[in-house]
Amino acid sequence: MSGSTPAVDANRTRNRIFVALGTLVIVATYLYLILAQPEELAEGGLGTSALIALAGYLIGAGLIAAGAIHRLPTATLSLIPIAIVLNIAVGQLTAVLGLPLYLDSIGTVLVGVLAGPAAGAVTGALTNVIWGLTIGPIALPFAVTAVVIGVLAGYAARWGMFRRFYLAPVAGFVTGIVAALVSAPIAAFIFGGATGAGTGAIVAAFQAWGNSLLASTTLQGLLSDPLDKTITFTIVVIILFALPSRLRGRFPFVRQYNVFGKVAPVAPAEPAAPAAPAAPAEPEAPKA
């Protein structure tokens, strides 16, 4: 967008490596926890799974956010704080109203759609940091989920899921499934399934039916996350369709990938030849 930061290009490779490494760490963490976990739990303790879940996810999320933020132009950066505040405000409102949803990623999805996966990732990660500074650090371990949601929202927009009103909820549903899978190990190994009263009850029920801890938190996540993200994506698409097209078109990502469908480019009419220079109507006089 602006050519003001040549220093950024020099670090381009480094940033790419950060993002790739972060993604790798998150995927590896998840796979390790699913494959290696059950036998360790059977031994009676938690082993190192909690430490790996916490460290792997935090380092992964941090790497992606750090690598992604350097790619963002100032216009996108100044959108992110607004999105973060929107996340927190609506999320808190939902919690206060006691709704069985989170609705704490409206801003993250909004940024992902308008400015791309990198911007979505940064919004997600930093939302949880702000959440920690203002309301309490409980949510901090879930930063990785927020990153994943932001990234997926960005790719959904890139792949045309926001061109039709009815496609966005589908993208939200899929995002919700991924979010549920990614966050299940955190809920299991760091919170012991007790992330809240309602969710805790559901986890208890799944365990009583004979599921393992990780399976129970995964199932619990699959009950609430896809629904939550479907609603979130729907709200976002409503907001975005209400925006004037000119405003949406200001975001380069939107233009580059035709996020809201093809818009026929308009060429301005050629300006007419200049009028004859206006002669001063009054005689020249010194300034009073």
Binding site: A242, L243, P244, R246, L247
Partner: protein, 272 residues
């Protein structure tokens, strides 16, 4: 002519921060009157007029709109009697079309559908935006959006209209348009109360001026008389309109409200 007198008695308002924004104001505004409220930033003008539709409640004293006390009516109830145009139009515009936004107030007030269409179109014509009725409000410029916000209040046809800084950001034509809207309102018998920093606009469009400083009224009366009251204006740090300043430099005792009045006075003086 409406029959709603605005009565403000012993009004005080202290914000939670401890700032006393209104520190004892008594004011009566008759139905159909047009009153300008002037004063420095922080003089308490906005806090005072926000009492008129219940957005701010008296800490002490009372505000009556006709037989209603604003202390025991909701803002929505008071909106049947008092329309309020905010300084920043973007704090109220939400609909996807100009028409939809302007129709929001009448709909809330329970107008009939055909009545809504009629009042919306009349209001849009008054602010010169009838041809933009189907446009997204955010495709308009800020000064046009400000006129949408004014239309939104006009369409509610309230007997009292409050305008907070209606001319900021408006060019010459915009200011003239707002002046003509105020004339229309008066012709309909509407009471108009406006806050303004533009003293030329004030002197030409309002018969009565209230000067505020530090939460109190420092001068109140017919426009020409108030702007001749040099000590009160100085105490409130209000700069008189340009022609008043000129008259003062020339050593005149009277004050002209508009250019024609000034030239009349000049002519009298030239004749001796």
């Amino acid at each position: 002519m409406n029959d709603l007198t605005i009565r403000i008695d012993g009004l005080r308002h202290t914000y939670e921060s401890g700032v006393e924004a209104v520190a004892g104001v008594d004011l009566t505004i008759a139905p159909g009157e047009r009153v300008a409220i002037v004063g420095q930033n922080g003089a308490g003008k906005t806090t005072l007029v926000r009492h008129l539709n219940g957005m701010v409640r008296p800490t002490e004293g009372a505000v009556h709109i006709g037989d209603w006390s604003t202390s025991d009516k909701s803002i929505a109830e008071l909106s049947h009697r008092v329309g309020y145009v905010f300084q920043n139009p973007d704090e109220q515009i939400f609909a996807r079309t100009v028409e939809g936004d302007v129709g929001f107030g009448p709909k809330n007030l329970g107008f009939e559908p055909e009545q809504i269409t009629e009042s919306v179109m009349t209001a849009l014509e008054a602010v010169g935006l009838a041809h933009e009725a189907q446009v997204h409000p955010h495709h308009l410029s800020l000064s046009e959006r400000k006129r949408v916000a004014i239309a939104a209040v006009l369409a509610m046809r309230t007997p009292i209209v409050v305008l907070d800084e209606p001319t900021t950001g408006q060019d010459e034509d915009g200011v003239r348009l707002i002046a003509s809207i105020i004339d229309d309102l008066t012709a309909r018998g509407t009471t108009v109360v406006a806050i303004t920093h533009d003293m030329d606009f004030c002197v030409e469009n309002f018969e009565r001026v209230v000067v505020m400083a530090r939460g109190t009224v420092r001068a109140d009366g017919p426009t020409a008389r108030v702007f001749a009251d040099q000590p009160a204006l100085e105490a409130a740090a209000v700069e008189p309109p340009q022609l008043a300043r000129l008259a003062r430099v020339l050593g005149w005792s009277e004050m002209a409200v508009d250019p024609s009045g000034f030239v009349d006075a000049y002519e009298r003086r030239r004749r001796g």
